[in-house]
Symmetry: C2
Subunit: 199 residues, 2 copies
DNA sequence: CGCTGAATATACCGATCGTTATATTGCCCT
DNA sequence: AGGGCAATATAACGATCGGTATATTCAGCG
């Protein structure tokens, strides 16, 4: 590959990487492009050479990481059978994904559960819906296999996503998320979802 | 009460009210003070007469609504006995609180689960911790009364808060949250928490 | 009446915002 | 060698940001 092309890619990826660091910490509105280009060690026209504007940079960041995480989830779900083990690997895979780079769940969940961002209105819902439908399919399957009580799959998918996302969001902000996002917690979450808290 | 004092109170409350509307929609960083004073129909020095700066206005808004919602929760919990009914009224009371003014849970949850706001770093944790401890006490009691399996009360409180907060956060953003935050959903959430999803 | 002090307005401050016109560098192809 | 083009930098644009110096209004009070 040509040097100029590879150098361009590096610059572009460097911008995306530092944008990820900053946006995942303080969000789209609070981070200025000067902060990003300063962290990346470039100047403004360089950023505007690689991205149309601030909004495009942010949207690409979001789309890219939603894409990767979604593919990983679909992969581990497809590689397992039975609703319980599928839910289990889904949580565990999400935990691993977070520990590999906590900035990514921070960006995704804080952007989704945080204040509205008019610049990207509408694109978040379609991205998160793909994962919701995946969870919902597992629920429908679980009910059909009679390992789950027959209830509204939308409700089940919602509660499961709550139990999975919230710990990811909360603990990915702490220092050393690995202290909290343990395999034991992943198992406990699935157990809590399936068995409940009562005796 | 003097006319000037009452007029001052109205202006101050008008500012807080429009700030609530705007901050709960797009967050602290994305909303400028000009937008607030324009909505309230006053000028900048008026805002700075009633509040030290943008940060103080926001902090007062946050503290005020956390205070009110916390008191309401403690009240309904104290008025009921048994862990199941306490959990039930807690969810239902939170739903009612949201339906009375969806801007308030939007502000609270989006501020808490959204990107970090350096200006108010540290004050959110102490405010949310009070509610978490309340939930935790119900869990400890429930375990002691043998209506819940003996598990880590922190984990139980975490999962219950997940199941309660996430629907509140998600549905308070939709139009007419009352379509979703029904008494039936409140009951389903408590049932899901206690009984789980499996057969 | 004239004084005081809270409340509000006009007009502006310097700083930062997202963005760009212009110029320069340096590799690739001919 | 030199044209062409992607990549980067210097320097600045107008707009908006949070915040304020100053002036005016108005109510309460001696």
């Amino acid at each position: 590959m040509k040097a100029s092309r590879s150098s361009a890619t590096t610059t572009r990826e460097k911008l995306l990487d530092h944008a990820l660091t900053l946006f995942s910490d303080r969000g789209y509105a609070a981070v200025g492009i000067r902060e990003i280009i300063h962290a990346a060690g470039v100047t403004q026209p360089t950023l505007y050479h690689h991205f149309k504007d601030k909004r495009s940079l942010f949207e690409e960041l979001i789309r890219q990481h939603y894409e990767v995480s979604q593919e990983q989830l679909e992969q581990v779900v497809a590689a397992n059978n039975g609703c319980e083990s599928r839910l289990q690997v889904m949580v565990q895979s999400s935990f691993d994904f977070c520990l590999a780079d906590p900035r990514i769940p921070r960006l995704m969940f804080q952007t989704y559960y945080g204040p509205r961002i008019p610049e990207i209105d509408g694109i978040l819902d379609s991205l998160t819906d793909r994962r919701f439908q995946l969870v919902k399919r597992i629920m429908v399957e679980g009910i059909h296999e009679k390992c789950m009580r027959p209830r509204d799959p939308d409700f089940l998918a919602l509660t499961f996503c709550c139990l999975m996302d919230q710990p990811l969001n909360i603990f990915s902000r702490r220092s050393r998320p690995g202290r909290f996002l343990t395999p034991a917690l992943a198992t406990e979450i699935v157990d809590q979802f399936l068995q409940g808290a009562s005796t």
